[in-house]
């Protein structure tokens, strides 16, 4: 059975029967849905076989993210986001560090998290104010981080920090969940993706072994990590758009307009035709980015290659395109269910809020347009 078939079965057997999450739900390792996900062998599905993982490709992951998001985008996000931290560790951690922390992710399906964004730095990572300082064999971390998904129940997290003694030196450092001086603060009440647990955290003289720092410039390392999670965020729009299409078709089968089923109305048909067209372009771009990713990943010296490249253009494009087009789809569809579509009884509102997430998180479009201009237009133009 392919992984996509396994995911389909999990969706059919588990997700379709599950209650929808509300603001109090947290998809942590104690949550029944997560435990079934682990039992199905799907937790952290991308981990390499040498760490006990199933080594599914980004290509497969796109469809997994889409399928889970069809049913529950919050569950999907909680489930795939650990790829951000685990892949940084896999690529840039020492062999010993990776060996200590990664196998557990496959085995027990535990979580890991990433701490990048800060209140003042926002999307400009070079403004990061969290610092680390060497003390003998330790690194001592101080600072405050704003948004970190899965943090409260993560076995370890990766923190982006600036060298207190060299403001141009950044590192990504592994902090075990139980480290002293590391405190998870409030959970954010997010607008959508209910069930996903996102937290702020503070580091107060939090000391970890010096070997916990990953190799490579911290900002670049984080950029590499984001390639995977951005593609899978983009893939959420595939699943949610399919869901929106199917909800619309269900509604149109029962609703009548002008004496005929809505499904035969030309305006409705045109909207669905446009949706389906747009959905295809989202899928094509996600697949394209996943192919680029997998090609690098399966090639020689992937960590080095990825580091050389930093941001993968097609991955950023996938996230932007999914966010923009997904929002267009959700906006148009949200007007198509009458008054009922404005109530919380109807799923469309929940989906619309979840869709909004894509364009806001892991780099807003303003930030990414600037990045693309700087790296792929302006630089190319100067060379040309």
């Amino acid at each position: 059975m392919t992984v996509v078939a396994e995911t389909a079965r999990f969706c059919a057997d588990v997700l379709t029967c599950a209650e929808l999450p509300d603001g109090d739900t947290v998809y942590d390792d104690a949550h029944p849905l997560w435990q079934k996900f682990v039992a199905a062998g799907l937790a952290n599905w991308w981990l390499p076989e040498r760490y006990g993982g199933r080594a599914f490709s980004l290509g497969d992951s796109v469809e997994i993210s889409a399928r889970l998001s069809y049913h529950d985008p919050g569950f999907a996000f909680s489930a795939f986001l650990p790829i951000l931290a685990s892949r940084m560790l896999e690529f840039f951690g020492s062999a010993e560090l990776a060996q200590r922390y990664l196998p557990e992710l496959s085995g027990t399906g535990s979580f890991c998290a990433t701490l990048g964004s800060e209140a003042r730095a926002g999307s400009e990572l070079t403004n990061t104010e969290t610092t680390f300082r060497r003390h003998g064999d330790s690194l001592v971390i101080n600072g405050h981080k704003q948004f970190s998904t899965n943090l409260a129940f993560a076995r370890f997290c990766l923190v982006l920090a600036r060298n207190a003694d060299d403001e141009r030196d950044f590192a990504v450092i592994l902090v075990p969940g139980e480290a002293e001086g590391f405190r998870v603060e409030q959970r954010w009440r997010m607008s959508g993706l209910l069930g996903t647990g996102t937290y702020a955290a503070t580091f107060t003289d939090c000391a970890v072994p010096a070997g916990n720092a990953l190799n490579g410039n911290g900002i670049r390392v984080l950029e590499v990590g984001l390639n995977g999670s951005r593609i899978l965020m983009a893939a959420m729009a595939i699943g949610m758009s399919r869901r929106i299409r199917d909800l619309s078709m269900e509604y149109a089968a029962t609703k009548r307009l002008g004496g005929a089923p809505l499904s035969r109305n030309a305006v409705f048909g045109a909207r669905m035709g446009q949706l389906e067209m747009e959905l295809e372009t989202i899928k094509s771009q996600c697949d394209r980015a996943a192919r680029d990713y997998d090609e690098l990943y399966l090639g020689a010296r992937p960590a080095e290659k990825f580091l050389g490249q930093g941001v993968l253009k097609s991955a950023v494009v996938a996230k932007m395109h999914s966010g923009q087009v997904g929002w267009k789809i959700a906006s148009a569809a949200s007007e198509g269910f009458g008054g009922l579509g404005y109530t919380e009884q109807h799923e469309i509102q929940r989906l619309m809020r979840a869709m909004r997430h894509i364009s806001i998180v892991e780099g807003s479009d303003d930030v990414l347009r600037d990045l693309i201009y700087g790296r792929y237009v302006r630089r190319a133009s100067r060379r040309g």
Copy 2:
């Protein structure tokens, strides 16, 4: 002091200090905010002087709706929606009926409601399935109505029903809140406009005096009533867009980007310039519609003139334009507050949900495009 100044004072003194509504809030006549609104002399501000009202024009009402919506769109909607029922009664009720029910709205600031939409009829009012039947001097009503704001605490409501004995005959009938056979059912959990109470209702052999039927074809009567409420719904976008602009400017004053305040960033400035431009066009269209309305209202035989016209083109256009442009404004702005803008801590999410309401309620854009095409393009083209 002008009414706009009075409203400004109420906003400053009361609304700015009030807690934001949550899903449990209901702005009924017992709610402290409403009582202060009544005390400020603002309740049902449009009622004619002969019923003890203050007779403010639609032109003034546009600004009142905008000011209230700046602070709390749910309060604004609850406060102005009674114009829909009260104006139908004022225009098309017998002198006696109007005299019995309207003065109380001015005096004690009580509510009235309208019951139009049904589950199957949706926006096609000619599919209305609620019926009335003459029994001696009574009209007996049966049926189920879906969305009615303020209904649970309304002194009376106006119900659109079809003649059980003549399927092409529709009437709008006044039903007192305490009528037997009239039962308010569940309150809907709406996606936005928290605080606004919207309800479903059932009529089971509910008998009212025959004189409670308003004069004129029921669908036409309802169309006339909607002119006022559509203009004031459109005006909500003025207030909410101003709020979004001000929130953005506050954020930009503190946030830094590229070493300078965000307020000096050219992309941010371009977005604000576009917002301000769009906001002006919303305002201009609302003012235009209000002027058209007031001209008819203050002219000779307004009820007759309005009935001859039915839907006021500029009012429909105002609602569509506000809904479309307001959504564009809210969508763009919602990406501009970083991750914080995706949390419920931040007002932008609340505003975005409230903005969505405009395009969905009182005729979706699909319905209104069709209406405009049929009445103002196709008919004109055949004449031409």
Copy 3:
């Protein structure tokens, strides 16, 4: 007969029968259409009665511009653009200067022109490189100007220039058409608005009397002049959108789709309903701007008031909104005439190109967004 009726008659009697302009047409004072326009008493219709003009308001002018543009946007633009120069002269020229040059515009229907834009300055007027210098009682002008409509046959033109001796001093100076040292250069081949003659020009030691300088800062003076022409440019979109609607309805009356006339197709109807809605908002904003303009113009000391205000917000908004929405209308409609709509046989291509003009000329949207942000958002926000 009202001026709108006069215009309607001119359109019916003259424009509908006229051949469409091609790239060689120039609407100069020798052109038969223009001579008929003069004969109909419509040339420069806005000139005050004290200069022999008919003193029609901006409100009327909006409808005149719309009507002419319905038939021929190039003719409309050629006809109303002189308001830019004539109003600057009327407001800010000495009584003697105005008396010498304005009456002729009413009498013989001659043209005047404005020279603002330059190759390097573009839309940033403060970068103007054309200079003037005092020599005794003369001003000597040197420089190159890029786009000036009607220039080749204008009796006089108004030139924006910088003081060669004080780079922060700008003046608008009247140069008679026959002045020595003033040379009209090539006519531009414009993409749309065929018939409109637009030219570049060079000033080489061109000397004019010092009294030919208008009072007031040159950039501010030009801003005031642009208020009128921007409103009338915006009004072009009214006429062109009406034309597009009517062409679409004509096509739909004959074309069949799915066994019925296209005019009964729901998708076509939805598009027309949306067009009509958008057209109304264009009209409302133009009317709003014209009302603001007329209020200032008919009030006390208009020149002073206008100078105090500079750019009229509603006028800028009208031009931006018309340009953006008109382009949306033209783009959507251009797909609605099958393959024929891509040929030059069909008017839609001509209209689309004419529509494009609105957003590009007299300040692109980028420039105007920045202006609105700076003057109406940012400044207000600092005050607030």
Copy 4:
């Protein structure tokens, strides 16, 4: 040297030096550019080796279409459109027919054409009014066809006709250019793609051997042919968007705004970043469609497989997406060159007109939305 490199060389050596086409240019087999294209071995590059062709894949063809369109979209369209007719002949013509007509296309680089659209049928091919009737061993064709590119100098054309004796039977029939009763009529003056020759034609008792009919239902056969040409039309947007980007960067390098080069302006950068992002999604969708196409083409029994499928979903999506996004790109960019960008001196106007073509020809978006809805949404939904 790869075909893309060959194309690049042809572009560099020939197209960059060539004069831009005007309304009188026709890219026929006598045109010098075409002769150089033939000499470079590029004419009809997709023809199979068994007909003397070079058998380049659709994947390669996407890049060829893009490269040629970068320099001259009219040349590109003239050059790739023969794939429509030649592939129908290759798939569905008898071995003998294909052998008689295809080798010449490779050898001398001659043209072939397709006649589908008619005045009344428009995009509804089932309304085709051109008929064929069997007369002994001949088929006799009568009717009028509207738009056919390359027709006047095509060695043969393929005509869609309805069986005069069975209105549900359609055939695609090969007509040699010199056939009696076949007359090419006027060349259309197209809005863009100057250089491309597009013609109307009439058939008056035009008799051809019965063996000239292709196998399979004519409408389905045409659908199959359109898959290739739609993908290559979509690919035109890649080349044109790259050109627009490069023109914008050139302009921004010389133009100054606010005291700095425009290339450092944040609004300009954001627009370019968005353009680049959108361009990537166009490329990804074209590549995806080409991959789908090549997979079928290189697999077993491609003609049969293609006929079973008819319209290739990803190909239709590519054309729609390119047309919509390309238009967005061209519209935005056309405002970015100041007044110069509105003149015919500047290429942007020419590019904008060429871009418009994509959404209008070979099925407007209205038609294709309906097709997608019917085949991929509605049918799937009924199965589901």
